[in-house]
């Protein structure tokens, strides 16, 4: 009986969120193109080589960076390796189940990974220790703590923030003195919900319940597009795509400034 | 022998425009923004604006006579496989006679073949059957043939002409289920002939002059006896 009444409450809420939107209002009073408040706390896990916690409204994500030497990929013998993983642990949402990563957490990790990789934020050639034998492997582990919507942007923000305070643990592995991991570029992802004609930047969980339809666009420090991902079951028009591109690049600029100031 | 698809039938893909008049929407089409589009790959019958499917699953409709196979027996009726994504249910109350004092299992058991009418379908596609119909029966003997359900109209023929032809010329009993199952009973040789003819009809369903060809085929078969 409990689940049933919860579902009914959810339906009433959904209807309320939708009616507000029809009235050009978001439930939390934000403008359609407005992010929730963003808080970036770097270095929250001192045991990790780099870390950051990001609070995007009530959404909370911790990203920890661990680094260790290992074998390079055979096709890139002189480059370091980035491995990005996301765990949507059951503590973060009633809809997350324990167990191996599902398609949503895999998609999230891969979209975050592409933003960092394609922007060239990390110079992988600098992470080569001995060509063909030994390179630094960067593990980016995304840990969701509270999913109140738009985990993706919170995660990519936490990931780049964590990389920006990462120390290469050379001493621990006998490769000389520890060094700061150089970060050359700051990719920022912007996710928008696409609902009928409306575009809702940084959707909250209440808004995400209305539709799974969204587009994530990641741009780099030079306003280049470095990653895009359409997700959900809908037809996207060309015009809407360009509108999303402009919006995402503009929003990313503001967030990038925040990251620089941290 | 080379046969051609009837020239008035154009091949259409899903999404092809069928008509700009939404009142002219036949089966196999959908309407959006006042236009009628094909929703399946098939042949367009330009007279009726319907798309005749080449393949596809049998989806029951109320009023269809179907041939089903009992899949499971429950205390209140029978679960019937109707050659569809959906199974059907035949409640004991829709069996022609009262079955007082007997278990449903004693009347019909798993594997039994029946002809029955689709009488109700709810929005969740739960399908209900009835045997309280003149054409409904338990099919004890005979042979069951399965063809693509989309070819059933050609086996029946215009106003039942094809099935009448087979019955008359071969002296067999035939029940054609809308779900693509056909039951034939009679002397073994004649069942074989009927099976042969039905297979030809299925294969050449979209060609012209089918009745003439079947007539001459039957003559040929009989001469061989």
């Amino acid at each position: 009986m409990k689940t049933l009444s919860n579902e009914i409450i959810a339906d009433i809420k959904k209807d309320f969120v939708y009616r507000k939107l029809k009235n050009n209002e978001r439930v939390d009073g934000r403008k359609f193109d407005e992010f929730r408040s963003i808080e970036i706390i770097p270095g929250i896990i001192p045991r990790a080589e780099g870390s950051a916690m990001v609070k995007l409204g009530d959404t909370e994500v911790v990203v920890g960076i661990k680094m260790q030497p290992g074998e390079p990929f055979p096709d890139t013998p002189d480059k370091g390796v980035i491995i990005t993983n996301a765990e949507l642990v059951p503590l973060a949402s009633p809809t997350f189940e324990p167990g191996p990563p599902d398609e949503n957490s895999i998609e999230l990790a891969r979209v975050v990974d592409r933003g960092i990789r394609e922007s060239g934020a990390i110079d992988l050639e600098k992470l080569c220790i001995t060509e063909g034998e030994n390179v630094w492997i960067i593990f980016i582990d995304i840990h969701a703590l509270d999913d109140d919507g738009n985990l993706l942007d919170a995660s990519s923000l936490a990931a780049i923030a964590a990389l920006m305070n990462t120390t290469i643990p050379s001493e621990k592995f006998g490769y000389g003195d520890d060094e700061i991991l150089p970060v050359r570029n700051i990719p920022v992802s912007v996710t928008s919900l696409v609902l009928d004609e409306a575009i809702l930047v940084d959707p909250s969980s209440d808004e995400e319940k209305l539709t799974p339809n969204r587009v994530t666009i990641t741009s780099d420090s030079d306003d280049n597009l470095v990653s895009m991902q359409k997700s959900g079951a809908f037809l996207l028009s060309e015009e809407k795509l360009y509108e999303l591109v402009d919006l995402s690049v503009e929003k990313a600029r503001g967030i990038r400034e925040m990251l620089r100031d941290v | 022998m080379k046969e051609t698809i009837s020239p008035e039938r154009k091949i259409v893909l899903p999404g092809d425009l069928v008509s700009t008049n939404p009142r002219n929407a036949g089966s196999g089409t959908y309407i959006e923004n006042g236009k009628v589009y094909a929703k399946i790959f098939g042949l367009l019958d330009e007279k009726s604006n319907r798309v005749i499917p080449l393949k596809g699953k049998y989806i029951p409709e109320v009023g269809n006579l179907i041939i089903g196979i009992i899949e499971d027996v429950q205390s209140n009726g029978w679960v019937v496989d109707i050659n569809s994504p959906y199974e059907a249910f035949l409640p004991v109350s829709e069996y022609p006679k009262a079955i007082t004092g007997k278990q449903p299992k004693e009347i019909m058991d798993t594997g039994d073949v029946i002809a029955a009418k689709v009488v109700n379908i709810d929005p969740m596609m739960r399908v209900y059957l009835s045997m309280k119909d003149r054409s409904a029966r338990i099919l004890h003997r005979g042979r069951l043939i399965e063809i693509l359900h989309t070819r059933v109209p050609r086996v029946i023929g215009r106003k039942g002409s094809m099935v009448s032809l087979l019955k008359k010329e071969l002296g067999v009993k035939i029940i054609v289920g809308q779900n693509g199952r056909i039951w034939v009973d009679g002397p073994e040789t004649m069942i074989n002939f009927a099976t042969d003819c039905i297979q030809i009809i299925e294969k050449e369903a979209h060609t012209d002059g089918l009745t003439e060809r079947i007539t001459s085929h039957i003559k040929k078969l009989k001469r061989g006896v």
């Binding site: 990563p101 891969r110 394609e118 895009m228 991902q229 360009y242 | 091949i11 999404g15 994504p85 050449e204």
Partner: protein, 244 residues
């Protein structure tokens, strides 16, 4: 292949194509007996088989949707399809591809006609040469039509990319590996016209203007592929099933 080798010389690509030219494509509908619909497709050196089962009963029951069919899509690469043997079974890449590919069909398949059922789409990549996900979508679309599954139109897909600062159509392996951007795109085509984007991914580095150019090229490519999909289905219709 050197990383700084030129990909485009005098307007021609390494494999001799122009920048807006597709690789040779071969499509055959109805190639498998057991499935309800199927398609074999070659796109350059990609060799893909698609099979569709359904709508069919979906078990266990908790997976059912009381109002519509559930689409399931499995993109799978054969271990021998790539240079280095791929470990069999789903990896993270194929899980993501399966998700976005399924979503590409969600707005196109008329699911409401088949409550509680499933429509299962299986893609097997037998040989891979860049653009396997879009080749898979093209094959799946033909297999769905062949199975008689109701759809609002067809899905047609192509990858566009950036190499040597040029936006080019339908990347092959080297261009994909060493290029500057890869953009797989699927379009919804109705009555021969493009009506929307149904899959879009991108990785690399492009500007908004380059994106516009890429979409323009993708539209051109998709319309050409659509004609080939149509041809394959016409051939299927006129094939042995109907002509003695």
């Amino acid at each position: 292949m050197e990383e700084n080798q030129k990909f485009i010389v005098n307007g021609k690509r390494i494999d001799g194509r122009k920048i807006d030219e597709l690789r040779p494509i071969k499509i055959e509908a109805g190639v498998l007996k057991r499935s309800d619909g199927s398609c074999y497709l070659e796109m350059g050196n990609n060799k893909i088989i698609a099979a569709v089962y359904g709508p069919r009963a979906l078990h266990p029951r908790h997976l059912q949707d009381p109002n519509k069919a559930v689409i399931r899509y499995r993109y799978n690469m054969a271990p021998f399809s790539v240079e280095e043997r791929k470990r069999p079974g789903p990896d993270r890449r194929s899980v993501e591809i399966s998700k976005v590919s399924r979503e590409a069909f969600e707005p196109v398949v008329i699911k409401e006609l088949f409550p509680r059922s499933s429509i299962d789409i299986f893609i097997e990549v037998l040989q891979a040469d860049a653009g396997t996900r879009v080749a898979g979508l093209n094959a799946a679309s033909v297999a769905l039509a062949d199975a008689g599954v109701p759809m609002k139109g067809m899905v047609t897909a192509v990858a566009v990319g950036k190499v040597d600062d040029h936006i080019v159509l339908d990347l092959f392996k080297d261009e994909d590996n060493y290029g500057q951007a890869d953009i797989p795109i699927a379009m919804f085509i109705r009555d021969g016209k493009i009506e929307g984007i149904t899959l879009l991914q991108m990785d690399g580095q492009i500007t908004k203007d380059e994106l516009k150019e890429a979409i323009k090229l993708a539209k051109k490519g998709c319309l050409e592929i659509y004609r080939l999909q149509k041809e394959a289905l016409f051939k299927r219709c006129r094939g042995e099933d109907f002509v003695e």
